[in-house]
Amino acid sequence: MHNTKTSVRMNCEQARQLFDAYLDGELNGSLATELGAHRIKCSDCRRHLALMEVSGHIVASDSGLNEMDERFTDRLIACVDEGPIQRQSWLYRHWRMTAGGLAAAAAITLVVLGVFGQRETRVAGEKNILIERPRGDGDSSPLLEGMPSYPGAADHDLTSGAWIDRARKNIETKRNSAASLQEALDQTANKWIDALEAAHDIDSIESTATEADHAPSSQPSQDDPSLPKR
């Protein structure tokens, strides 16, 4: 659809088909340049993108959440120790630890552990959700079949280890909460106002320019009902 020839100017419909790739950070090269050029020219698309970017920014700087109870970890570990299923597995593992050392014992343990692990999963599934699959609107990977505990594991990626960095940063952020929260809020507000103001200012410039300059050919072929009436 958008097999864009570089010589032909992108229209709104073509531009909008690239919005997601652009917002996902997957748009490079000449398409990115063209979308940038269209964005400068077209106030509707500029506004569309500004609204999407601002809403993304607000979701990213989520600050409306409640703090977790500080005894959460204590309570959780206590549950691990006390729960019937969990106790079985902790005790079992403890036994395995003390019996460890002999290669043969270790080998048997591994076999038993496999069986044991599966049984645990089934027991947990009766009351819980290990076996239930999320209601998807598409097919899940066939790789997920036949892996009762966490099927998605088959598909996990090996390359990125940045999560732990992010987790630490998150904890760090929470610690500095009051000051950084205010800063984040101010930034959000400023970005939003800047984006809106920029969109508005360019609109004003354009509306004072000649109508012919306004490139009506770059408007979408059919009216988009979601566009603001101007």
């Binding site: 998807g136 990125s160 732990i164 630490r168």
Partner: protein, 205 residues
């Protein structure tokens, strides 16, 4: 540099998991402490109700510990944990829906803390934030999850697909719909804010 740090972290994570599997509470604790805030934030946004969120977060961790033996350490623990968390959320929401009918469509979370936010930020920004989160609350669960994981948790579409157990193309389509829905609902607020802002600056006209 960052890669080396990531590798060290992966090695550290593997050690923690191995020790937790062997019954080491200290290691289990560290795993919880490293991940609980992110998981809790995600679950709050999925459930739109912080009262249930902590309990659900606990359930997710317990499930993870029960089957920790089956976790393959060449994968990311956080992705696995979020997969579990997402499933627990879906089941909780389904159960709740079965009992009470359709859940409330307004965001319970943003309001409680907005009272304090509003003193810190402009009226426009507060209204905008409320509009965004109320709009997020009207999205379908996979749309909401895709949006929150993408923006708040810095996950790419591939990783989100693993968490939601959906094809990448489906995740992209959820993100697309979520973004457009938010944009539609933001349009009128944006118009008001431009006017208010320009009035304040004496730019009206």
């Amino acid at each position: 540099m960052a890669k080396t740090a990531a590798k060290t972290d992966r090695r550290y994570e593997k050690q923690l998991i191995a020790r937790a599997c062997d019954g080491d509470r200290g290691a289990a604790r560290t795993l919880v402490d490293l991940h609980k805030d992110r998981l809790f934030a995600f679950i709050q946004r999925m459930l739109r109700n912080h009262h249930d969120a902590e309990e659900i977060c606990q359930e997710a961790f317990l499930k993870a510990f029960v089957s920790l033996d089956s976790f393959r350490t060449e994968y990311r623990f956080s992705t696995w944990l979020f997969t579990i968390g997402y499933r627990v959320c879906l089941n909780h929401l389904r159960r709740k829906r079965a009992v009470t009918g359709e859940p409330e469509l307004t965001e319970n979370l943003a309001h409680s803390s907005d009272a304090t936010c509003e003193t810190l930020e402009s009226e426009e920004a507060a209204r905008l934030r409320r509009t965004v989160w109320n709009s997020v609350a009207t999205l379908s669960e996979p749309q909401r999850a895709s949006l929150v994981l993408f923006y708040r948790h810095d996950m790419g579409c591939q990783e989100i697909a693993r968490v939601l157990e959906l094809p990448v193309a489906t995740v992209k389509s959820h993100l697309h719909r979520a973004r457009n829905r938010l944009r539609e609902l933001l349009e009128p607020v944006a118009d008001q804010d431009i006017a208010a802002f320009r009035n304040r600056r004496g730019l009206a006209g």
